[in-house]
Amino acid sequence: MDRQAIMEQGLTQPLVAPLLSPAARRRQLREKVIAGFITLMAFTGIAALILIIIFVAKEALALFTEPEARHEASLSKMFLAQDVAPGRPPFRWQPVSKVPKVSMIPLFVGTLKTTAVSMLVAVPLGVFGALFAAEFAPRRLRELLKPVIELLAGIPSVVLGFFALMVMSTVVKEALGFDRPLNAMLAGLGLALAIVPVIFTVSEDALTSVPRSYREASLALGATPWETAWKVVLPAAAPGILAACVLGFGRAIGETMIVLMASGNADVISWSLGDSARSLSATIAAEMGEVVVGSPHYSLLFFIGVQLFIFTFVLNLIASTWTRRVVRKLTGGAS
């Protein structure tokens, strides 16, 4: 028979599966069960993420369904200026006073203030530090720098909060002449300690993924090492560095203990860094302990949690898109 005939025969006659012994069949079944179990376990991560949003949102839902909560904490009371006696601030967060005031604006301002300070300090430190580690540092120094960053990242945030509260507060107050020891500036500096490692690590990854040939070509054309780093390597890694900053920003928004301990937690709206500030995350931490389960105040705190979840979720998506972009750009679309 020629090839053609064999192939046609193969097409018309159904293939017979080889007969398996019962032991082999049991083994096959066992393999399938194990593979199924492992796949099932792998979906725990997805399930956890979905459960988080469902259960945090579920407790906040009462704000929109129950008449009492809707009256006490409507969206307009949360986000718009309130009619108050002249001279009183129109935005206040005092959910447990006789007439509850539930404006989220002071919390947004507080979060933005502390986060802005931390970014202004941590971005230059983290990116420049990473540039040094990736481009200029002698090998020994680089090997020292990496464990140092890991140790810094390993310090629990409550310890950083403690350090800001006990040690940095007097230094900052004296140096900048603030009235209060606990203020937005101090909380921002404490936050910077927490996000420098994030920004450094992600930036350094992006910088070291730039191919050697970029640097060699630039140096061969007569550029100095600094010009190579600044005008060739840094632009090539730019999306990754942006991703690092976005990740640091997300971490700073969600960070709780440092702000809770160092910011003073007053619901004032001002742009002065010497005033105390109250952030979204710290508000949840400070008030959830004493709240009545099911009350409007309780739902409000969960609603803040939903907002925090959404902010950080969006920031993470942006960061991971940019990180992928830097990989795709540098490998020429291979991955």
Binding site: A42, E59, F132, P147, V148, V158, G161, A285
Partner: protein, 303 residues
């Protein structure tokens, strides 16, 4: 610009980046020095083995050390199987370019970015109020038994929080096991699960341990997720049941630092508590770093 000025400008800016790196190292140094200087004197055997006395003005922190250890132990038991199997799925079982593996990865990345305080809300809303109340109803407890903050719920909340840490390190460890080992095992007639259990997982064990250690170090230091899921400020008794509340080093630090009636009197105890907490997390991190450098070197040598 002449070449000389270009070089000078470059050198100046390069030293600026060096300065940034130096500041980072100095920050760590200052924090460590300050904590060790003020805390080392107070870390005695009595301090480590006695419960607090005189309204936190004296005694030790043994219940907090015990609570932290018990909490992280329960957390590790919960997170390791799930985390390791998820990584095994992603690296060994999922078909290449599989959509579900992509979803799992996206979920893990986003889970890692969820603020820790939101995990606390999740622990309260899901574990205590939903699972706990459901269990009380199903098991016929008249008064609250499971539907209250306790060490089990706190440790499960932390397990969800540390899941990405375990998955990422385990996957890195699996990647370091050479493909040849797998193909050799399969060629000898071993099934996929036999290959996994006898070749791949033993080969990846150091990396998996790194993941466990990193998760423990992260879990031991987190305070925000346990604020309303089980931590208590002062409990002379150790937790005996899965629904008992517990003392915790980090929470203890927070309360002593912010709510002490006499800051000056508690300061030495506070510093010693922080030192113990720092030593604990640093020792764990150091172990992780050592295991990882070793495995990386081995992996680099085998290619």
């Amino acid at each position: 610009m002449t070449p000389n000025t270009r070089r000078a400008v470059g050198l100046a800016l390069t030293s600026l980046t060096g300065l940034a790196a130096f500041i980072i190292i100095a920050m760590l140094g200052i924090i460590l020095f300050n904590v060790v200087e003020n805390g080392a004197g107070g870390v005695t055997w009595t301090f480590l083995s006695k419960p607090p006395e005189d309204g936190m003005m004296g005694g030790g922190i043994f219940p907090a050390i015990f609570g932290t250890a018990a909490l992280t132990l329960l957390m590790t038991v919960a997170v390791m199987p799930v985390g390791v199997l998820t990584a095994v799925y992603l690296h060994e079982y999922a078909p290449p370019n599989s959509l579900s593996a992509r979803f799992v990865r996206v979920a893990v990345v986003n889970l890692a970015g969820v603020p820790s305080i939101v995990f606390g809300l999740f622990g309260l809303g899901f574990f205590i109020l939903f699972v706990g109340q459901g269990m009380d109803r199903a098991l016929g407890h008249e008064e609250m038994y499971w539907a209250q903050p306790g060490i089990l719920w706190a440790s499960l909340t932390l397990a969800v929080l540390t899941l990405p840490v375990v998955i990422v390190s385990t996957e890195e460890a699996l990647r370091a096991v050479p493909m040849d080992h797998r193909t050799a095992s399969l060629a000898l007639g071993a099934t996929q699960s036999q290959t996994l259990g006898r070749v791949v997982l033993p080969g990846a064990l150091p990396g998996i341990l790194t993941g466990a250690v990193l998760a423990i170090s992260r879990g031991a230091g987190e305070v925000a997720p346990i604020l309303f899921t089980g931590a208590a400020y002062f409990l002379p008794d150790l937790p005996t049941h899965l629904n008992s509340q517990f003392m915790h080093l980090g929470y203890h630090t927070y309360v002593m630092a912010t709510q002490s009636p006499d800051v000056e009197a508690t300061r030495p105890l506070l510093y010693s508590t922080v030192l113990v907490l720092l030593l604990l997390t640093f020792a764990l991190n150091l172990v992780a770093v050592i295991i990882r450098t070793r495995t990386r070197r081995k992996a680099a040598g085998s290619h």
